[in-house]
């Protein structure tokens, strides 16, 4: 039994794990007071010294303890001598650091240095005279050195010195810049973010070639210490928005934030709401456009997507192609998209309400078509409709998860063969199948994937309400949904702005704004400056 620091025996029992008891009897009797720091600095162990020891043996021992070198063979500790005079130690992680760069630009120059030139033996002097590396910085903090090693950099320690050098030798494998998978466009660039944070920031900088584009690198919180880049345009972004973003990022207390989706849920205003309150995009051009509007973007190491906020419903329904198309065409595209979304949300529920509760609203011809198509189907119409909507989601999920050509084939098999077979077997009616197919098509016009998913499941709920209460159910649920959307804010910006509340915007809800006006950030962002 572990021993509690103070208190009587009963209390000790309540606050301890009973490791000496059999597994079946193991239980945590009361919420265990956390022994960890709520928001620990990354890769820092309890009792770890802040300073760098002056003796290399101590440095080695401390590094081996920190990285658990007895079980973790990736840590490479290479001893060598600089100019045959100064004992040195290079520490790096195998695979994360580029061995050729370490050999060519750190160890070889150090060994070949003329001892006569080493008049001064401090690391700062060695930095200037010995190592031909473009990014190398001195540090006196041991945790900083550990963090640098985990990132793939090389830490150089010198005997008798409490300062080390951190050289950029990152050389881990990463995917090259490819085409967007979920946000494909006809007009516009075909570049997408990768899993490499540095590459992603570079992609952004290639579009926004201005000195006030800030990409500040910070740990994402928790023990993992995954890096994130907070990107914004200084002088354009509202400082209060920026401060709020930084506050929310700092308060993340998760064990590890490994994806942009997990990060998004920890910083958004209403995590319980199915509708996303930030825009997740894999397109650098969309992020760049958002930054010029005064928005903030977060890029996370290992995630090929950016999280842009504040997001409005208009932003979630806009596509990268809108700006590339001519204004009337762009506006028409938006109307088509809005119509698609409306059809996707309301058509199945409207059809169900008409057929189940308000059949008198249909003319005789239409009613006879609906009834004759359903006459051999044994399932009740609401069950049939909900079943079809769920099958549609099933086919769609299967198509996405199965890789490449097989995925497309599944879409075809699911959509055509399964549908045809289901109608032939009198499992579903043709009219219901057409309604669901139209709703599904409408759903695909929505550019944002998270919004698509949200609407896909919302319409199932709407169908249930329509089956129960007809138009009254649809009306009540729609009213509640509108009210909830009106109350939701993303980082202080109402989701339905500039529609409600009314605000001047360069990107109105449906009509695409003039390109000439795009050089001013949106009013709803309350941004500071202008481009």
């Amino acid at each position: 039994m572990t021993e509690a620091p103070h208190g009587n025996t009963d209390r000790m029992k309540r606050f301890s794990f009973h490791f000496d008891e059999p597994y079946s009897a193991f239980e945590l009797l009361e919420t265990e007071p956390s022994t960890h720091d709520a928001n620990p600095k990354p890769n820092r162990k309890a009792g770890e010294a802040e300073e760098i020891p002056s003796r290399l043996e101590q440095v080695t021992a401390q590094l081996m303890t920190t990285f658990c070198a007895d079980r973790n063979p990736d840590l490479i500790l290479r001893r060598f001598r600089v100019g045959n005079r100064i004992d040195a130690l290079a520490a790096f992680l195998n695979g994360m650091a580029d061995g050729v760069r370490i050999d060519d630009f750190l160890i070889r120059p150090a060994m070949k240095t003329d001892p006569e030139t080493l008049s001064e033996r401090t690391p700062r002097a060695l930095l200037h005279n010995v190592f031909p590396v473009d990014e190398i910085t001195p540090s006196e903090s041991f945790p900083e050195a550990v963090e640098a090693i985990t990132e793939g950099r090389t830490a150089l320690f010198f005997a008798g010195q409490r300062c080390c050098l951190l050289a950029d030798t990152r050389g881990y494998p990463s995917r090259s810049v490819g085409e967007p998978k979920t946000e494909t466009v006809v007009l516009g660039p075909h570049e997408a973010f990768t899993e490499n944070l540095r590459t992603n920031v570079t992609l952004l900088r290639r579009i926004l070639r201005r000195p006030d584009m800030i990409a500040s690198f910070e740990p994402s919180g928790g023990r993992n210490g995954t890096k994130l880049a907070l990107c914004y345009l200084d002088g354009i972004v509202n400082p209060r928005l920026l401060a709020e973003a930084q506050r929310r990022l700092e308060r993340i207390e998760a064990g590890a934030v490994l994806s942009i989706g997990a990060l998004e849920q920890r910083i958004e205003d209403h995590p319980w709401l199915p509708l996303p309150q930030t825009l997740k995009t894999e397109r650098p051009d969309r992020v760049a456009a958002a930054l010029t509007d005064g928005k903030v973007a977060v890029l996370l190491e290992g995630s090929p997507m950016a999280c842009v906020f504040p997001a409005t419903l208009g932003l979630l329904f806009s596509s990268a192609e809108d700006a590339a198309a001519r204004r009337p065409v762009g506006t028409l595209l938006r109307f088509v998209r809005a119509a698609g979304a409306i059809v996707s949300v309301f058509l199945p529920a409207y059809f169900l309400a008409l057929a189940e509760h308000h059949a008198g609203q249909l003319s005789g011809e239409v009613l006879s078509v609906v009834l004759s198509s359903h006459v051999m189907v044994f399932l009740p119409l609401p069950v049939e409709m909900i079943f079809l909507l769920l099958v549609f989601q099933l086919v769609r999920e299967a198509g996405i998860r199965v890789p490449g050509v097989v995925g497309h084939a599944i879409g075809i098999i699911g959509g055509l063969l399964l549908g045809q077979a289901a109608v032939a077997a009198h499992l579903v009616s043709t009219v219901a199948l057409i309604v669901v197919a139209l709703a599904g098509l409408g759903n695909f016009t929505i550019p944002d994937y998270s919004t698509q998913l949200c609407i896909a499941y919302y319409r199932v709920a709407l169908c249930v309400v329509a089956a129960l209460g007809g138009f009254l159910g649809i009306g009540s649920m729609t009213l509640v949904t509108i009210a909830v959307l009106c109350s939701v804010k993303s980082f202080g910006v109402p989701m339905l702005s500039p529609l409600a509340p009314v605000a001047n915007a360069v990107r109105p809800f449906l009509v695409r704004g003039k390109l000439g006006k795009r050089f001013a950030p949106e009013d709803i962002m309350n941004a500071e400056g202008r481009l």
Partner: protein
């Protein structure tokens, strides 16, 4: 204090007041005596509308004079007992205003669509909606109103416009009978618009200045009132006043009259349900205003429990009134009239000049 008031602009307030005026104007009237004197109702509604605008101006001037930023603030300055009594009367007026459209729609729904359905089942869809909307607060309501307004206007105008072939001018006869009756009917009609004025005065603090309230309120009252008068004229053109005396839910019947023999889908029920949504919204505004008034005067620090309670009370009131139509409705209108009479209170707000003279 968690008053859920928030901040809203004049355009949102305009949307809210337009919808409330239209819905209270069209669906909270005492139908029994509307067409006793021919089609004089149109003039009465117009007079009532102008009177309500004057009432709004007078109340705003009174509250400004008194240095109060809302009606609740004025009531807080009164002696506690009288303040709470007045707030209770106004709350009652607002709650009845919220219940009346509900009652009308419940009648229409059980009479024409869900024939002989249990009203409780219909209210099961409406009351949760009312609870949520009123608890979300004024900022949300204003924004929701902004979304609902174009839909309501579109549906109303399309509905009224599609009946044009049915309109006959001779049905408007007799248009004017006597001045005395007109005045009396105008005062009764005024009760339809007083709740809108009360909502505006109660929630004025969130509108960032009395000027916004005055402007948005005036425009909303005028537009909503104009649509109400238009709807009444369309009814007058479609049915004789003797028929209108007997009809229940005449506006819905007007929609049903549309000749859609060649259309695949009729839209009259869609129109009715859009109006139902708007009515729920207007009721939620009244319930929220009542809750705010009561919580401000009684010193309750959170408006939400009161809003939830009053929404449930409104739903129950609709159900009870549905069951006790004959006795309940006339009594209800008298209570409503007495409650609305307290709306003139801000007109008598103390003038600083007069106070100084008294002190001297």
């Amino acid at each position: 204090m968690n008053d859920r008031l928030g901040r809203f602009g004049p355009r949102e307030l305009f949307s809210l007041s337009t919808i409330c005026t239209l819905l209270f104007g069209c669906f909270s009237t005492d139908e029994s005596g509307l067409y006793d004197t021919g089609n004089q109702l149109h003039f009465a509604t117009l007079t009532a509308l102008l009177l309500s605008v004057l009432l709004l101006y007078g109340c705003i001037a009174g509250l400004r004079r008194a240095g109060a930023d809302s009606l609740g603030a004025l009531l807080r300055r009164m002696p506690r007992f009288w303040g709470i009594l007045t707030a209770a009367a106004l709350t009652l007026a607002l709650l009845l205003a919220a219940a009346l459209p509900g009652l009308r729609f419940l009648r229409a729904l059980t009479g024409f669509i869900y024939i002989d359905a249990n009203p409780m089942r219909i209210l099961l869809y409406c009351v949760p909606c009312l609870v949520l909307l009123s608890a979300l607060g004024m900022e949300t309501l204003c924004r929701t109103g902004r979304i609902l307004l174009p839909i309501t206007l579109f549906v109303t105008l399309i509905g009224l416009g599609s009946d044009i072939p049915l309109y006959r001018l001779y049905r408007l006869f007799p248009l004017f009978t006597s001045g005395e009756k007109l005045l009396r009917q105008s005062l009764v009609s005024l009760l339809r618009f007083v709740p809108v004025v009360l909502i505006l005065l109660t929630t004025a603090r969130g509108a960032q200045g009395w000027e916004h309230v005055r402007r948005a309120g005036t425009m909303g009252l005028l537009l909503g009132g104009a649509l109400t008068i238009l709807a009444e004229i369309c009814l007058g053109l479609s049915y004789r006043y003797t028929e209108l005396r007997e009809l229940s839910a005449p506006l819905y019947r007007l929609m049903v009259e549309i000749d859609t023999d060649n259309a695949s889908v009729r839209l009259d029920r869609v129109v009715l349900f859009v109006w139902t949504m708007a009515a729920l919204f207007a009721s939620a505004c009244a319930v929220y205003a009542a809750s705010l008034l009561l919580s401000e005067t009684a010193g309750v620090r959170d408006v939400r429990p009161i809003a939830v309670l009053l929404s449930a009370v409104t739903g129950t009131a609709v159900l009870l009134l549905r069951r006790a139509d004959d006795l309940g409705i006339p009594a209800l209108f008298w209570v409503h009239r007495i409650g609305c009479a307290f709306a003139v209170l801000p007109l008598a707000a103390p003038m600083p000049g007069r106070k100084r003279r008294c002190a001297a």
